[in-house]
């Protein structure tokens, strides 16, 4: 690679051809402020529309200022990043953006995490000299995501996530000039769009334009209601990220402190979604083996590959985009919904509480789970199996409101019977985890042999699409993994074209799987945090005595006392679901 030399703020720097001024400056410790720019390096996601013009710098010999994020270095270039001309322009640009932005920072959901707020602070902006009309749009509230478009600064990050990474196509820029804004087609509401509620747009939005629906007030009220029994389940990926909200190093496992905090908040029972993850493996693994055996027996009708179905955003994605393939995914409900169904039947009976007085709350790394709770097929006489879901971020706020010093909380255990889990349940939190958990169980059930090594290293990693072949004692099982819906689309197109050679595929909507979910603490572009969370998940798995779902004693007991066996009629009724063609849902009114 050719190297070139240039001068930035009187310092010489040598960089590879094709390096941007922004990155060259970073190399010598000059941090040019940015706003619309986003680089999720490990995920190969970059947004540099050069739209906000905050990163403009002076390049000698050029008539206009150049955006550092989108301008490549050239040999002999002389760049100034803080001349009076640059400082004045940068400040003016931010003042302009602020002049068309609501001033409700104190009560904004993004306060403290807002990149525009940070920038205004950094540039020392104390007044807005250019006041004028502010653009106003109606607020759009969906079951999971709130769009407050008044706060949209047209950075287009959400658009890149929605269209290029997720290939969902729910959000794009509409209108012109001052009216330009990112919105669903025809300015429809999000719940009338193909949005999957994956929440990746929320994760990257620099301002409060896209946030999750807040359920914390409802939770506080329910906890205070003496007539209600409130129980909680926490998803595997939460424990690997929650600590970040309290200044703990990314990748710190806080499982025990989390349980303690939940108890402090006043939950009557503190359970674990990992228990339900084990249950999912029992059902999904059995379904996989069932289909596989039929296939091996020569049944031409059987649908293979089987696709996982624990991710609600992924489910909504194929309901919109591939409704003709609805028979391929497993019918198993997600762990969140399996937990709810068992909690409001088996467990409610056990503690003799009417399901209407039992509030099941989930803590999820996800915003799509909020939507999943609200789906009609997961309600009994209008009463939802899971009442509502709160995100990792909302959970952290609750802990702070309760004046808990989270890092110094003691490590506590989950309650039983719905709190016990194996390592297989834990790894649901990362890409590749569900299929690895399934492989552990399916292998032993199919072969009747005990696995010598439960770690399927070949299924792990961060590559967007991965594949591996596992030897089921002479039978080669081809496994595919995709995370990010754009990658999922590729595998689905292959299946549609009859080109897929997989027996089973795991799909997670969010890059990285649930650890990178739309409800997780903001990473502000630092993808090393995702890797640290992933590592924590595997560490938790390794530390478990039991690492295969079918060895979870409480799961075995549940089948014995209540469900019978996997895929039994009762299990089918409570733990499986059906899908809906949503292609026709999109009506332009």
């Amino acid at each position: 690679m050719d190297m070139i030399k240039l001068t930035i703020d009187k310092k010489t720097v040598e960089v590879e051809q094709g390096t941007t001024i922004l990155n060259a400056a970073k190399k010598i410790g000059i941090h040019i402020p940015t706003l619309c720019y986003m680089n999720l390096g490990d995920l190969n996601i970059e947004n540099k529309p050069g739209g906000c013009r905050v990163c403009v710098v002076e390049v000698e010999g050029r008539r206009n200022l150049a955006p550092a994020c989108a301008t490549d270095c050239a040999d002999g270039m002389i760049v100034r990043t803080h001349s009076i001309r640059v400082l004045n322009a940068r400040k003016t640009v931010v003042q302009l953006i602020l002049s068309d932005h609501p001033f409700d920072c104190l009560v904004c959901a993004k306060s403290g995490h807002c990149e525009l707020q940070d920038l205004a602070h950094k540039l020392g902006i104390r007044e807005i000299p250019y006041q004028g009309e502010q653009s106003t749009y109606r607020k759009d509230t969906s079951p999971a995501i709130i769009r407050d478009v008044d706060k949209c600064i047209m950075c287009r990050r959400c658009e890149v996530m929605c269209n290029e990474v997720q290939t969902v196509g729910a959000l794009s820029a509409i209108n012109r000039g001052f009216e330009a804004v990112v919105a669903p087609a025809f300015e429809m509401n999000l719940d009338h769009s193909v949005c999957t509620y994956c929440g990746q747009c929320v994760n990257v939005c620099p301002t409060g334009a896209l946030t999750e629906v807040d359920h914390t007030n409802q939770l506080i009220n329910d906890l205070a209601d003496p007539n209600k029994t409130v129980i909680v389940q926490t998803a595997p990926a939460v424990r690997a990220a929650l600590g970040e909200e309290f200044g703990m190093k990314p990748g710190t496992l806080v499982t025990g402190k989390m349980a303690a905090a939940l108890r402090e908040l006043g939950f009557d029972y503190v359970f674990d979604t990992d228990f339900a993850a084990d249950l999912t493996i029992m059902e999904e693994g059995t379904e996989l083996l069932g289909r596989l055996n039929k296939f091996l027996a020569g049944d031409k009708e059987v649908k293979l590959p089987i696709l996982t179905s624990c991710c609600p955003a992924w489910v909504k994605f194929f309901e919109h985009q591939f409704p003709e393939m609805m028979e391929i995914p497993s019918t198993a409900r997600s762990p969140q919904q399996m937990f709810g169904a068992i909690a409001k039947t088996y467990f409610a009976d056990k503690i003799k509480v009417d399901r209407k007085k039992l509030v099941v709350v989930s803590i999820m790394p996800c915003v799509a789970k909020k939507y999943e709770c609200s789906r009609d097929e997961f309600k009994v006489d209008g009463n939802p199996d899971v009442d509502y879901s709160i995100s990792t971020r909302e959970f952290a706020k609750l802990i702070k409101q309760a004046n808990l010093d989270f890092p110094s909380l003691p490590d506590e255990d989950f309650d039983n019977p719905l709190g016990e889990s194996t390592g297989a349940g834990v790894i649901f939190g990362t890409t590749g985890g569900v299929i690895e958990a399934a492989a552990r169980t399916a292998y032993e059930l199919h072969t009747g042999k005990t696995l010598e090594k439960v770690d399927f290293e070949q299924l792990r990693g961060m590559e967007g699409i991965r594949s591996a072949t596992i030897d089921f004692d002479g039978l080669d099982i081809n496994i595919g993994i995709a995370h990010g819906l754009g990658n999922a689309r590729k595998l689905l197109e292959d299946i549609k074209a009859g080109k897929s050679h997989y027996h089973a595929i795991e799909i997670m909507a969010c890059p990285g799987g649930c650890i990178g979910g739309g409800g997780q603490p903001y990473i502000h572009g630092d993808t090393s945090i995702l890797k640290a969370r992933q590592k924590a998940i595997y560490t938790e798995d390794e530390g478990k005595t039991l690492r295969k779902s079918h060895e979870n004693p409480h799961i075995l007991k549940l089948y014995e006392e209540f469900l019978g066996k996997p895929m039994s009629d009762k299990a089918h009724h409570l733990l499986h679901t059906k899908y809906f063609d949503r292609k026709t849902d999109i009506v332009i009114d």
């Binding site: 529309p49 050069g50 739209g51 906000c52 013009r53 403009v56 206009n64 200022l65 955006p67 989108a70 301008t71 490549d72 001309r85 004045n88 322009a89 003016t92 640009v93 302009l96 953006i97 002049s99 068309d100 000299p129 250019y130 004028g132 009309e133 600064i153 047209m154 794009s172 820029a173 209108n175 012109r176 000039g177 001052f178 009216e179 330009a180 804004v181």
Partner: protein
């Protein structure tokens, strides 16, 4: 029609047609016919040309006059539409303006039948490149030279034979058969032709860069997204001479190594679209587009793409995004389209007028073209004259002609003998020039030095009745509407500029507002992503520079001398003249005038809506506007 399969075929075809006078009517070789052409460009049709052509056809036949009536493109005299050209056998053709049905009758009876002189004859003041018998002596000493408009208003744009009789596709044939692509590019480079769409980038160089970009697929794109307020040069060329653009695109394709051309045209140009589609079909039928053109093995075909009329799509990267079906918004350059353009392939984008110059350059040679114009700006430029000028219409003048010559000689000066105040060139990206700039020669660089720019060729003339703050506000209103909204300075900054100008026109501005206007304008220029934002403050800056006193008058005295800013007008009673007739008070729609009979009346300024009724009704000149 037999296909033209070689350059020789084309030459023979042309020879067969050349003896004939236009309009060419295949079924009638009799040259004792009267030939009538009706200007059927958009401005002609808008003024009633369709009715006129129908009338002429029917009446000439009814009255047994052997005549051939056809349509032609815009002759350039928008102020005198509908215009027709009449050629009596053996005589020089004359152009007659302001022809309605009544006038058409007069033309038939008086001019055609009796060969008597008639009012409304427009003396032509230009020469074309074709032949000397069309060189029409100007009534002024400055001559226009029609290169891009060479065939406009002469040929029937829907008749390829007429184009061929005037050398259409000859340059293409010569290039393909007798020149290498490099030689073609050298000629264009030598000619000094620069892009006519606004930027002024050397055309030959652009072609060369695109030629050198290595790719199996390349594209030629014609930018017909003309969007400046008051500009209609490209539309007129496409409506009047579509084949010259098609031919030039094919030449460009040959030069850069592309076999597909795309015309990106705004859907608001239905007539141009119709004529282009006809022209493309005809060229294909003759084998002048398609496979194996002139038997040379060179393939080239042209598609049409319709834009939704976004001004920003004139910017080439935005145009390409729009062609691809994406949102029409620009992206940062580099990469330039010449390297990575339509569908990611090397793409040469030129504007309509630039293309229209190509065939003449190749036919008459680079030296001939470079001999016209000035050192840095070669050839001619088409301008659409509009505003308070007598001869509204199209002109094509050699580069280096002064603004004074264009406005006062060719353009016929200011309407109603009012005083010239300013001329706006370059559309929303340009600036307003004044009396002191009138002797500036029209060149790319001198106009920029003077604080404006060439732009695509709109030229709007203003007189003493125009308020320059309002003019700046008009352009900013346009920019705010047409900005794509991608970058913040253009999206929000222009809106703020507009709001400040609005405040000034309402008497709410202060001297601080003027400072802010200038500061913000400079930042927007300095930081915007594309040419639109980088130039959108020019109307503000140039009026601030040239009409500072007028701005100050607005903010300090709250006065608009031109009388345009209604909020700043005050109708007051002149006590000495008022006889107390009560006419004003009785007619005031908001009852803001009080006063007893035979006593001096009074206008309450706080409720006056400045409708002017009192001014009109007063018979004693007792109301004045201050």
């Amino acid at each position: 029609m037999a296909k033209i399969t070689s350059l020789n075929d084309l030459r023979m075809k042309k020879e067969a047609l050349q003896g004939k006078q236009l309009p060419i009517e295949p079924r009638d070789g009799n040259d004792n016919m009267v030939r009538v052409k009706v200007g059927m460009g958009t401005s002609g049709i808008a003024s009633g040309a369709k009715e006129v052509i129908k009338y002429l056809e029917e009446e000439l036949e009814k009255r047994n006059i052997g005549a051939i009536v056809t349509q032609t493109g815009d002759m350039g005299y928008s102020y005198a539409e509908p215009t027709i050209e009449v050629c009596l056998p053996g005589q020089e053709p004359v152009v007659i303006g302001w022809v309605d049905v009544e006038k058409a009758d007069e033309v038939i009876e008086q001019y055609i039948r009796k060969n008597e002189s008639i009012e409304g004859i427009i003396p032509a003041n230009y020469q074309t490149i074709n032949s000397t018998n069309e060189t029409k002596q100007a009534d002024t000493n400055k001559t226009q030279i029609r290169i891009a408009l060479n065939n406009c208003g002469f040929i029937d744009p829907e008749n390829l034979d007429e184009s061929i009789s005037r050398d259409a596709y000859l340059a293409l044939g010569t290039c393909i058969n007798e020149m290498t692509p490099e030689e073609v590019i050298d000629v264009i480079k030598e000619s000094g032709l620069r892009g006519r769409g606004g930027g002024g980038f050397p055309t030959g160089l652009k072609w060369e860069i695109t030629r050198k970009s290595v790719s199996e697929q390349k594209y030629v794109v014609c930018n017909a997204d003309e969007g400046d307020p008051g500009a209609f040069m490209d539309r007129s060329i496409l409506e009047g001479d579509p084949h010259t653009v098609l031919e030039a695109m094919a030449i460009c394709g040959y030069a850069i190594g592309a076999d597909v051309g795309v015309i990106y045209i705004r859907a608001e140009y239905p007539l141009a679209i119709k004529r282009l589609n006809i022209a493309i079909a005809q060229a294909r039928e003759y084998g002048l587009l398609g496979k194996d053109i002139f038997g040379s093995g060179f393939n080239f075909d042209i598609e049409m793409r319709y834009g939704a009329g976004a001004f920003v799509c004139g910017e080439e990267t935005a145009l390409i995004h729009s062609m691809e079906g994406s949102r029409g918004e620009p992206t940062f350059k580099p990469p330039f389209p010449s390297v990575e353009g339509y569908k990611g392939k090397p793409t040469n984008v030129n504007n309509v007028e630039t293309f229209a110059n190509i065939p003449p350059i190749l036919l008459k040679g680079a030296k001939w073209f470079a001999g016209i114009g000035t050192e840095c700006s070669k050839g001619t430029k088409v301008f659409a004259l509009a505003g308070k000028i007598n001869n509204v219409g199209l002109v094509e003048v050699p580069m280096g002609t002064t603004l004074r010559e264009v406005i006062f000689e060719i353009g016929g000066g200011i309407q109603d003998d009012k005083k010239f105040k300013a001329v706006q060139t370059g559309g929303p990206s340009g600036g307003c020039l004044t009396e002191k700039d009138l002797d500036t020669p029209i060149e790319y660089d001198t106009l920029i030095e003077a604080g404006s720019m060439m732009g695509s060729g709109g030229m709007i003339v203003m007189d003493e009745d125009d308020c320059m703050v309002s003019v700046a506000k008009f352009y900013l209103d346009f920019t705010v509407e047409e900005s794509c909204g991608k970058c913040s300075p253009c999206r929000i900054g222009n809106k703020r500029l507009y709001e400040m100008l609005d405040q000034i026109t309402k008497g709410e501005g202060t001297m601080e507002t003027l400072d802010k206007l200038r500061t913000l304008s400079n930042v927007i220029k300095d930081t915007s992503l594309c040419g639109l934002g980088q130039t959108s403050p020019n109307p503000v800056l140039s009026t601030l520079d040239n009409f500072w006193e007028e701005y100050v008058e607005h903010v300090v005295e709250h006065k608009c001398t031109a009388g345009v800013c209604k909020s700043l007008l005050r109708y007051v009673v002149i006590p000495d003249n008022c006889v107390g007739c009560t006419a004003c008070a009785r007619n005031c729609p908001v009852n803001c005038i009080s006063g007893e009979k035979k006593e001096v009346h009074f206008i309450d300024q706080s409720t006056c809506i400045k409708c002017g009724t009192c001014f009109e009704k007063c018979k004693f000149n007792a109301i004045e506007i201050v």
